[in-house]
Symmetry: C2
Subunit: 416 residues, 2 copies
Amino acid sequence: MAAPGENLRINGDRLWDSLMEMAKIGPGVAGGNNRQTLTDADAEGRALFQSWCEAAGMEMGLDTMGNMFARRDGTDPEALPVYVGSHLDTQPTGGKYDGVLGVLGGLEIVRSLNDMNIKTKHPIVVTNWTNEEGTRFAPAMLSSGVFAGVHDQDWAYAREDAEGKSFGAELERIGWKGDEEVGTRKMHAMFELHIEQGPILEAEGKDIGVVTHGQGLSWTQVTVTGKESHTGSTPMPMRRNAGLGMARILELVDQIAWSHKPDAVGAAGHIDVYPNSRNVIPGKAVFTVDFRSPNLSVIEDMEKRLRDEGAKICEDMGLEVAFEKVGGFDPVEFDKDCVTAVRNAAERLGYSHRDLISGAGHDACWINQVAPTAMVMCPCVDGLSHNEAEEISKDWATAGADVLLHAVVETAGIVE
Amino acid sequence: MAAPGENLRINGDRLWDSLMEMAKIGPGVAGGNNRQTLTDADAEGRALFQSWCEAAGMEMGLDTMGNMFARRDGTDPEALPVYVGSHLDTQPTGGKYDGVLGVLGGLEIVRSLNDMNIKTKHPIVVTNWTNEEGTRFAPAMLSSGVFAGVHDQDWAYAREDAEGKSFGAELERIGWKGDEEVGTRKMHAMFELHIEQGPILEAEGKDIGVVTHGQGLSWTQVTVTGKESHTGSTPMPMRRNAGLGMARILELVDQIAWSHKPDAVGAAGHIDVYPNSRNVIPGKAVFTVDFRSPNLSVIEDMEKRLRDEGAKICEDMGLEVAFEKVGGFDPVEFDKDCVTAVRNAAERLGYSHRDLISGAGHDACWINQVAPTAMVMCPCVDGLSHNEAEEISKDWATAGADVLLHAVVETAGIVE
């Protein structure tokens, strides 16, 4: 099949206008969005997306997890579709682009192909995956996970929010539970455009991130137990300070991550000490160590060193320590051909680019288990995401969608 | 004046029975007490104490801060009284002995002198200081502080609890606001018996702590500011991890305290990181460093090193840091003659003893500013206090009250 010509471009103004229009639904309190999954705002956003898809001549499919599939036919009735999409749901204090850019970028591709009257051999299906964020119903990437067979649908339906409402009941309540059995669709390929949610592209002045891998993740919850005692009346040699043990393990975590540079990372974002009183030496510290690497053996090594060397630190201080693995997934290696299609697209369009490893989880990470998949990333200001102040420029969004267009069209095949 | 004879002893069983009887008022949920200041339970405890004092032939005085003064007359109408006491209020999850032993130990002295028909030259006044704990109305040692002129009474009245009720209004409500102007009483001396609230006496097998000094305290609230960012998508060199900066300052605090061994101590009991999410690198860490020493110049040096070296740590990590002094008091040196009276009493009675520096604040620390003062300490199990599981033995309580008796009687003068 022929590669699309350099002159093939999406309409950046139209894409931007659609992003701004969608952002009016479920506004946040500080300029961003609160359009959490399976809320009334989510239903309203879905309806707007469907109306736009239908106006672009697409037909909407809906599966039993509420995943939306807007189809533009191809010329070959036997050819499997090329999927493109992401998610419309947001964090409670989320931005206007995380996920949304990938869905409306997919829509913009179809609109542009319509404008240019270009047909593809394979159909193109623009997808909105339900509950990517996972803040209302844990875990994240829930419905793409069910689609890929990672999670069981009944288990997913039973997930509850903080008020005890279930995913299944809320999906029915908002009217977006379909009849199509989840996971039965076969894909020729899947592409996801997403903001980086990290600082690398902006810092290096690159337009495009070609995502080659998704980092694997390991969450270990560490509980250090010492002895609550008075900060005044307990001499230094008689202290069993769980907070100090935690401090030394946090330093260890940093050292371990640096020892696997440049790709591994490690830190603790969640830290609680007990009883957390100014004049009581902490008797207990609970914190979660987050290690990530694109290399499974590196993750395993980091976990082992945390347990071995962390135990030694605590033993030397007269502290007890327990390690519990509370989360994780293996590294993802995206499909080489799909990745090459993304890199070629950036080259062809003259956008500066670099290979990236995705540090966050995405729907594409699960779909990669059942179909050839890759991701395109564009910069975001200051690496900021999951925050109402999340920002990108129209130029960045346009470049990302241009690359998505070329990668999708090259994969779907232009019919001359 | 003559020293009391070796055979002069309090009644340990009666003291213990009174401790157990008082503990029935404001019971905790786990075997201890919740008899917080100016609650109905506090009023009930005060009434019981008053009834016991009156039964022992004493007359009760009550000042405008609710401080209770039960007087046993001396033989010399010109002699100033020897005061003895502590506090009946407890922590919300407090023990049966913290404070209570000092008040009921004072009562037991008078009961024993009555039994033995011993008269003293100076009157003896058994005191219950209002709101020593400070958990309902901060700060601790509030009413002894007003008595000693450290705090203004109107300011004390305006202190509010978590529900917005004021100290002044609650003192009136429970019916224990007196007419006597606070702080007008003159004292010949003041003695306070208290449990150690630390592990030293038990660990060394000593019956009695002769308290020579009260440690000075310095609380510095440290705010480290970095940048909230994604734990996955932020490369190690681009992180500004406020939690890691905090960990390094906690290590520094430990080093600083050890550098002034054996008497100085340092730790952080209160630690909060923000946003405290497993996949967000902390953008802010707030924690309070507690330094104590019996030597003011040591406290000043520790504060300075924390600020200088803490600032250097943060500068090297690209973090901002702010230090705010949020609490403190100068070291206390108790009256040499009163301390000698306590040490002599332990010697005379054959109790093992050692000099102690009080790590916690006590009413005696403020009263020492207006009258010759000293403290007697007895061990507590495992150094545990401010906890319902706080425990002492009847023998320890008896030994402490015996020493208190001898110190008080030697100071008040036996009339032969």
